[in-house]
Symmetry: C2
């Protein structure tokens, strides 16, 4: 997908909500792959612009999980080609191996994007960047506690995550890069925007992990919006009772309405 | 597998060779899963102590690849339970997600170990460490060019990879940690051994990537040997002709004989 189509969708729906599919296949098996699945109803109601399957939750079921993942992405691509899809896989390896992962997620499964870990550097990331209209979402500053172990440590005058962002700008086809920046560290976004004013950011951690949507927008929004705010547990696991679909839709709708307000502020 | 059983095997076979299965299923499909497969003959000839399937090469084939991976590990566990098995997967994510990956590779597939990226810190690694007699091989200093992007950069008085090793020692169940250290940077091993004198190291990069076995042993070997030296392309792709099995066995045998010599030196 081209970035301009993503931006178009965001303005049309007044939403930059990404629904994270941390889908426990044992927990919601029956309706997962049906068109009437509540998980996919967020899109029909124009509440979200992106879906982010968490690959671990599929891989835990082996080849059956892989088939479920394939059906999920095929369903999305066939029925909602305007949606932006993210394989949350956190891959990254030496060149020929990263290239295999890229082919698996970009060609075989036809995701629009994949999350990638930066630790192994340039030749572990560039194979992902070589695919046209496919996007590589590099881990910069994650939303978990462990982010303080290394990411926020100083390397010379910069922190590691700033150095990762800065260095990645010199990678071949860096125009295909986006970055993960956790909402739990929203105040860092002002500095990050000085390094990458135009890039899209995938922002986890709003809601369940305590991040504030207002702060994320205040420090992170750019002229193209430039944000995809993810919610997983806060929406799809808001309730495990029979009222699942009602509560989940309500939570998604609340978040989307806040997003519409933030967009109007700009 | 317990470490002492791995050490026992190393001394018995006079080998610390790990065979990397960067297996292109299209290239060598017919004999991959047969007992007489030349890929598994290295073990019967007592040449190697470990196998390391590269998960990307299986994942590239979707659910069929996943089934091939399952058959490979089942074959190894059923027929050669004394072999140490490594899922080269480079995973790492927030806690509940890392836990899914750990269950997939340690319980469902029953690998002895998995490679993990350290970028997301403590809570992304500890879920892997909670499995008894399973081992987490943390990326420290990798063998590729991109290692110089971040890993060798200074964080205070240490480099990032040294900080990763140092910090990881405080993780819960850190006795289950091993580390990836590339043979192409063998001279760094002396410093690394000061931080982790007893840990096992998985060493890629001997042969095809130019690393020297002698240097790796000189700087990296400890009282329990403490090394698993991997060769993938240098052995399984040494020849793609009809003489594949002869050439591959010859290459593996050469490397193992050098290892036996290094073990005698100590």
């Amino acid at each position: 997908m081209k970035i301009e189509h993503l931006v178009e969708q965001i303005h049309k729906k007044e939403s930059f909500l990404c629904i994270g599919l941390d889908t426990d296949l044992e927990r919601i098996p029956a309706h997962l792959l049906k068109e009437e699945s509540p998980i996919f109803s967020f899109n029909k109601a124009n509440l979200c612009v992106a879906y982010k399957p968490n690959i671990a939750f599929y891989e835990a079921y082996g080849s059956a999980g892989w088939e479920a993942l394939r059906k999920t992405i095929e369903y999305l691509n066939d029925n909602y080609p305007e949606l932006f899809t993210i394989a949350d896989a956190k891959r990254g390896d030496i060149g020929n191996t990263s290239y295999r992962y890229a082919k698996a997620f970009f060609e075989d499964l036809d995701f629009d994007s994949i999350t990638v870990a930066p630790y192994m550097g340039r030749d572990s990331v560039e194979p992902f960047l070589s695919f046209e209209n496919k996007h590589t979402i590099l881990l910069a500053l994650t939303s978990n506690e462990g982010a303080f172990d290394f990411q926020t440590k100083s390397i010379g005058e910069k922190t590691l995550y700033e150095q990762v962002i800065e260095t990645s700008k010199s990678y071949k086809n860096s125009q295909n890069l986006m970055y993960v920046v956790g909402a739990t560290k929203a105040s860092y976004l002002a500095e990050i925007r000085k390094i990458i004013p135009e890039s899209f950011l995938l922002v986890p951690g709003v809601g369940a992990q305590g991040g504030s949507l207002e702060e994320v927008c205040k420090y992170g929004m750019n002229k193209d919006v430039g944000l995809l705010v993810n919610s997983s547990r806060g929406i799809i696991y808001a309730s495990s009772g029979n009222n699942f679909s009602i509560i989940a839709a309500q939570k998604a709708s609340e978040l989307r309405n806040k997003m519409a307000m933030e967009l109007k502020k700009k």
